[in-house]
Symmetry: C2
Subunit: 415 residues, 2 copies
Amino acid sequence: MTTAPVDVDSARRDYAALVGRGLSLDITRGKPSPRQLDLSADLLTLPNGRYKAEDGTDTRNYGGGAKGLPELRRVFAEALQVPVDQLLAVGNSSLELMHDAVVQSLLSVLPGGERRWADEPRVAMLCPVPGYDRHFHLAQRFGIELIQVPMTEAGPDMDVVERLVAEDAGIKGIWCVPKYSNPTGSTFSDDTVRRLAGMATAAPDFRIFWDNAYAVHHLTDDEPVLADVLALCAEAGNADRAFVFGSTSKITLAGAGVGFFGASAANIAWWSGLVAKRTIGPDKVNQLRHALFLKDADGVRAHMRKHAEILAPKFAAVDRILTEELGGSGLASWTRPAGGYFITLTAPEGTAKEIVRLAKEAGVALTPAGATHPYGDDPADATIRIAPSFPEIGELEEAVRGLVVCLRLAVAERA
Amino acid sequence: MTTAPVDVDSARRDYAALVGRGLSLDITRGKPSPRQLDLSADLLTLPNGRYKAEDGTDTRNYGGGAKGLPELRRVFAEALQVPVDQLLAVGNSSLELMHDAVVQSLLSVLPGGERRWADEPRVAMLCPVPGYDRHFHLAQRFGIELIQVPMTEAGPDMDVVERLVAEDAGIKGIWCVPKYSNPTGSTFSDDTVRRLAGMATAAPDFRIFWDNAYAVHHLTDDEPVLADVLALCAEAGNADRAFVFGSTSKITLAGAGVGFFGASAANIAWWSGLVAKRTIGPDKVNQLRHALFLKDADGVRAHMRKHAEILAPKFAAVDRILTEELGGSGLASWTRPAGGYFITLTAPEGTAKEIVRLAKEAGVALTPAGATHPYGDDPADATIRIAPSFPEIGELEEAVRGLVVCLRLAVAERA
């Protein structure tokens, strides 16, 4: 791809005009829009006087077990590819479950492990990049070393992953968003999942942190089927290798939803024994509310199609504008995800920070450049994450056109 | 008090008759009864289509800060004696907040501390006994040493506490249920709170874990006013000493409620910085639901009077039966709490385990003897916790009469 030259004067004029418009637009965060939240309006009146779970448990009281309501776990077992018995419904988000999985691993010996991570001389985790900043921050907070691994369209570069984990017993885990990855939108291939499940690791207590945040978040009818990580791990003799996370955050209400944790029976026993000291049980009323609202896996599918009807035109608009403005210019490439919440724009090397700075000054808020990489450090300074979900389409279009103006100026000034 | 002799034969006959009735009764747990939960029936339809917080935040979405909704924190600031700015509304219970406070203290240096608790050669906590088993279990799980301190009617024996914390830098904290204590029902005196706030501690990062679980849980109109621990700590130059916990678990719905954490500004900053890595925010819809339902501190007071109308007759029934059956016998003493969820029965030394065993065989489930003490070890083997809240009054009376039969037999057999 050859790069078309950008005229500095016209780029400056365009940017001055952009600033002159005094915009205030925000495409930073993967937040559902109010129209998407309206799809779950029934949750604001449910459970509508009911309070008994299907097994007769009074959801308003203590008791009923720490696993969460069976009727809700059943709804998500298929989407998350976890047997119901090994799937817990707990908390209001998956982020806190990932955090707690790290905490429990630091403070208690994992199945297969020899000592607590806190007692290891060094704990490191692999971070496919670009990736999700909150994964990196929560690990970094505990002094865990973050090691970058390149993402491909089929998931992390497995040649690199296999080599690192085989050599280095300090590497205890890998962060994965296996479907419609944040932020590239790619889905791990069967071969990638099989290699993750089967690879030799120097650490006996290596864990895949499988953040299946976008399991049912399709944008098109082309719905890739993710390989079953728990089954493949078991098949390869590494049954305890994967921790599976999910939530209803971008299905129903963000923050007022339900988190899920799935793993091998041994991992679930380990987790449950520890977490029993922390909680008498999850918010079962909210779980009943969700079970009544979503009903079953087909209910989730039907509900997610309504989300797609709202989201797909926004993703299409971003792609259309980028194609109109930058197509064939060689100035940038971008992803065309079939699901999830993000588009990754790859700008010329060394320009992403400047683009984001220029956009900010022009009233267009973007995720900080570098946020997609551990320690906020994108070595190529090229990755920009676009979150099309929250703004209405007119504002989104304006924001993306503004972003293009900033990209052109950054490239022109650098030349 | 002199102990009346118990006739073995009649005690055995009474016990055989009790067993013959094939009871199945449970007075183990401090659970609200269904009638109490019915008081919060409106929560099962609220927020009834509303979703905007008073500051305009869309409670259905991410955002709006990690402190929780101001309108709900305002409702509980008075009862928990924490300034609104220093009171967080988070999670669905206080137990998880206590757990996480211990975890964060293990993994991050506290304000005033020199190193993480995980890096200390030894971490111990004082446990006033009898006390709450879940406090003990969560600390024990992290290898924290538990040191017993006697409870008095005015709180922990402060002569013992002051001596221990002054000498031993390994003692990092004390568990307190300062009002209507679990299980004795006593409320800490002003002098106790003042001494806790002001005492010299060898550990610079000593913390009072102030589990104010029963702040508004009165059974009578005689409502003791607890001294303000945060204010007294600040006054004594130990502003960061107290962590305050509370929840709506026994106000609205157990498990589907809201937890609260209060502390000094420095502690709140410490906590918030760490917890921001764990969560994007609490379940704001549930917080809105609670704010709409309870309205303000007066709303809480009115609501708690309805609880008292249900609970007070149960506590009175236990006291009446114990007085009828054991009054003047010298065989036992028991507490007459003015609030909270428990009555402590003190049996003759060395009989509690046997009483609980006999009761279990007769179909009357009691909290395991020893559960009120760290490591399940009540050195006198004399403390039995009675939880009158859950059963309806007829069953409760039967259970307490059964307990008396078991007590008499255990005493007679031992003699």
